[in-house]
Symmetry: C2
Subunit: 207 residues, 2 copies
């Protein structure tokens, strides 16, 4: 295995441009510091993709091989049941990470599709590349420890709220916690996320 | 800041006994390796507690300062709503971690109480001690990255199942995924976890 120093010495990517224009590095640097060489290495191993509204970056039933970061735009992840019922599981706007984590980590068929709600720029990290990053840039363990810790908190709170709060309270919490998402998505999609019909959400909002 | 080498050199705890009898180290060593000195240091900074059935290690509304590991026994975490409705949010048996993660990480009042379902031995890690461990034993970042990643997957699957599966399917999944928990807890507690009444769960099981 290459040591980290050796990796930096043998890094074949000369530092030509600053990486600061990528939102992904502002996101990572909320929790850890990266050198320009590390940023250059990370971005050289990613794909930066421009996708159109309604384009899908993951199809339910297929293997999810990528972890996605949203540079701009917004997406949603949803499940389609055998009966044809669509359930929105999460949204992602600029500066968020999104994937089907079970499929990505355990290499099982995805239970989610992920679709762009508008034109987006996204950065995708391959599963095996991320595993290599953990070896060569171990501080990324810290970064993703914090990211997954926060994601776990978000899901634990969501489970708790779905059990203990009324739809009205859950809608208010959603608006408070995710103002950037509320601006981007339809009421139908928010209703699907809250697990109620659009009509019911509309009657709740009128109150 | 002490370097890791310096910490090991100045570690005031002589290695007198092997730490292998603690389940917590078998748990940690599923993902990373620890030296005897590191184990000794970790355990010296923990509390090992024997608690009785029905004893609470966390009260809803208070600050949660500890992350708990279950050496033996079983516990459940639950929320009590303003209307007096109790919702079981998670169970933990031997070899599991449990806390109110939002309260622990963000130092906000706990939304959960945690109660022993039988006599238990638990190990508690203080928030500030854990932050120090991340500095001195950085590979713990990797360990908890994997632990929180798996916890996030569990919660994401649970959210998905609560939306897309019938109670019968969710009960079957629960029994398949957590056989050790099914043995330990009452049907009433499982019903509370699945968000249905005990009578409804009983009718589902009869089918």
């Amino acid at each position: 295995m290459l040591t980290y120093t050796k990796f930096i010495q043998t890094n074949p990517f000369p530092i030509l441009v600053s990486m600061t224009h990528y939102q992904i590095f502002r996101n990572i640097q909320k929790h850890i510091s990266l050198t320009e060489a590390e940023k250059q290495h990370i971005i050289s191993q990613c794909d930066v993709l421009d996708i159109q509204k309604k384009q899908r970056i993951l199809e339910q039933g297929k293997l999810c091989k990528k972890l996605y970061f949203v540079e701009s735009g917004s997406l949603r992840a949803f499940n389609l049941s055998a009966e044809g019922k669509e359930s929105t599981i999460m949204f992602a706007v600029k500066d968020w990470w999104i994937t089907d984590m079970n499929s990505f980590v355990n290499q099982k068929p995805a239970l989610l599709s992920i679709e762009a709600l508008e034109p987006c720029q996204i950065i995708s990290l391959d599963f095996h590349v991320l595993e290599q990053h953990y070896q060569f840039i171990p501080k990324l363990e810290r970064f993703f420890r914090i990211i997954f810790q926060n994601a776990y908190i978000r899901e634990q709170l969501r489970a708790l709220q779905s059990i203990s709060l009324t739809t009205e309270e859950r809608y208010r919490q959603f608006v408070e916690n995710y103002p950037a998402i509320v601006e981007k998505v339809t009421q139908k999609q928010i209703a699907s996320y809250l697990g109620v019909t659009p009509e019911f959400l509309s009657s709740v909002k009128k109150k």
